[in-house]
Symmetry: C2
Subunit: 399 residues, 2 copies
């Protein structure tokens, strides 16, 4: 498996485009389209929030048939808390884009991100659709990745080529998200495409597994969005076909997870105001579930996250978060490491001197290892620091 | 019931003192003592964190007998993650203060707050104890309240006088805490004293109830400390005596809750970097538990808290937190109010205009009302905004 350029159009059979339609008052790009020439197997994973945006409800319903031909995404407006009218708006836009593409309305998947509680400016977006469709090209993956951003600072793309059954195939994708990132699915939009041929049911299972191990293990701020969406589309245009339970399916699942993992890392690196990232590994939990809860609690502790920002390893904050996580363990056996250095040993803080302590957190990528000595359960999370910049961004992000 | 001055010595039978012993390098006051002339009924409520500081372990054990004569509290050092040596340090200090007071070692309760992972400078504190005991006076309640502070900006005292069985009696207290305030007990220390005569078992039950309804319903940052402690001491020096199940016990419980509630409000108002407070009330939950989980989720959402700081009512953030709380409800029936203004009605955001929206959050004390329309469950939380100042304070609070 090797990284390749091309993002969401790296796989054969996909074109993309991204333009400004005027949803964002700033005039920045805000409308993206990913399209296939023929129906593709399609799957999706969505937010677990009980309050779901209109495009989530529409796309969930359309995915039941397991195929799609295009994904229309807008930024600048979440089309959430918009009631029945929001559903009609999402349907009307997908009908218009389907007409431009000469396909059926229910072959369109939709996703939105931006301010909650506002209606989409539908006529304005409709007028931009012919231009959006005309721009479709394998070369325009970065324009599409740009058009789905909100507070993100950087475009997020990833793609790999791998060999399955001795033949080359590709998986690529794009994502957006910088805040409202957490519990059970980072608040984010993501489109993953592949030219592997795979049945919708298997695609859905492998996508759900990849999401659980990547996007569900990151947290910027612990907030869960109403619009989280990950789509996967498989064109089958390579000569690789994978079936349930085969070695090919395992290899495909690994490549899918590699792309999702790379995009998840890009999300955390671009976390609002983030200056550094931290990877938290918990070992020795009574169960995987308890170890994962422990990793999440540490990753979401404001005191741990401001400690990362300040760069001064206040080890008690890590221990306090571990102890509050609900994981059961004997505090007299707790070990905590930063990088290779043991900072808490058998429940007692080690004194390393201020200079040595500060050096531990100087890395842009901090590894926090926690051993509970209560069993074999493991958990992992990735998070970023909490800076004054995060507060500035979110105190001003505006109605 | 009426508010009176006097804090932790407002009730008859208590004296207090607070001095600088040199634990804090700044030279600020860091050692407090509250003492009774005779054994008092005593009860405590402690952090639910699995990682508990040495003074918590020592005090829990001593409270089994249900009485105490003094409380020794230091700030500047949490005496946590200090292993067996930390327990010895806490015992050695309480032995020394017991000697000064001419009472038994196990009549001393202890509490600590400050940096985790450091040992107490025991000889230095021991040298300060004669001065601390000599300063004991009914007039020195504010000096004691000052000496237990860490990042707090203000002293926190409250006291009430009420009539039970036609006779006057008093309850008063002091607290500290400004950060690491949350789940199941704000990270805080608190001493409540009363001159009512009450058996230790009843005192413990009424204290636990008051804590559940006050300190456990506030959150500054969602972090749970290793040192949380609330002590209650009853001298019996008024001529009021209350028994389990009596009207007097109910009146006493209400007065106890009034003092705890007042101190909890002071904690939130002094939340690190806080510019305003918000009171969240959830109605219509399937159960009280779900409604309370919903209130907590909203109170701890960073996006809601930065919205409070920025003053721009981004209503979707409230809805997203409600939907992510685990409370079950029909999102098409959700109503949300700020003050008296309905901002989400039957699951759809109302457009009120930017000026009207900003005005809603201009109050220093914001009321957020949430109706889930799923049952009769109710929940409440009090929180503060999240400001750049919070991050500044916590990125720098240092090892």
């Amino acid at each position: 498996m090797r990284g390749i350029p091309g993002g969401v159009t790296a796989a054969l059979g996909f074109r993309a485009s991204g333009i400004s339609s005027g949803i964002k008052p700033s005039g920045e790009p805000d409308l993206a389209l990913v399209a296939t020439g023929a129906p593709a197997a399609a799957a999706g994973v969505f937010t677990e929030n009980l309050v779901r945006a209109a495009p989530v409800l529409v796309s969930q319903s359309r995915l039941r048939k397991g195929s799609a031909r295009a994904v229309l995404i807008n930024s600048g407006c979440a089309n959430c808390l918009t009631g029945a009218v929001g559903i009609r708006d999402a349907r009307r836009l997908s009908r218009a884009v389907a007409r431009e593409l000469g396909i059926a309305e229910d072959e369109i998947l939709v996703a939105s991100t931006g301010i909650i509680g506002r209606r989409l400016p539908v006529p304005q977006v409709e007028r931009a659709l012919p231009r959006l469709v005309k721009q479709l090209s394998r070369a325009h993956h970065a324009a599409a990745a740009q058009a789905i951003l909100t507070t993100d600072l950087r475009v997020k793309e990833a793609a790999v080529e791998t060999a399955i059954q001795g033949r080359p195939c590709r998986i690529g994708g794009m994502a957006k998200g910088a805040g409202m990132i957490a519990p059970s699915m980072a608040t984010m939009l993501c489109v993953i495409t592949t030219d592997v041929a795979v049945a919708p049911g298997l695609l859905r299972r492998l996508l759900a597994q990849a999401v659980a191990r990547t996007f569900n293990r990151i947290s910027v701020d612990g907030d869960m969005s109403t619009n989280d969406t990950v789509f996967a589309l498989a064109s089958g245009r390579s000569r690789v076909s994978v079936r349930e339970g085969s070695r090919g399916a395992r290899a495909f699942g690994q490549a899918l997870q590699a792309v999702a993992g790379r995009l998840a890392t890009l999300l955390i690196k671009d976390g609002e105001g983030a200056g550094k990232i931290a990877k938290i590994r918990v070992a020795g939990g009574r169960t995987d579930r308890e170890a994962q809860a422990c990793a999440r609690r540490v990753a979401e502790s404001l005191l741990v996250k401001t400690m990362l920002a300040g760069g001064d390893p206040n080890v008690g904050r890590i221990a306090a978060a571990v102890g509050a996580s609900g994981a059961r363990f004997d505090p007299r056996r707790l070990d905590v490491l930063i990088g290779a250095e043991r900072i808490i040993s058998r429940g007692a803080a080690r004194r390393l001197g201020t200079a040595a302590m500060r050096k531990l957190l100087a890395a842009p990528d901090v590894q926090i290892g926690i051993h509970l000595h209560a069993g074999r359960g493991e958990g992992r999370m990735m998070t970023c620091d909490l800076t004054e910049e995060y507060v500035r961004i979110n105190a001003r992000y505006s109605t």
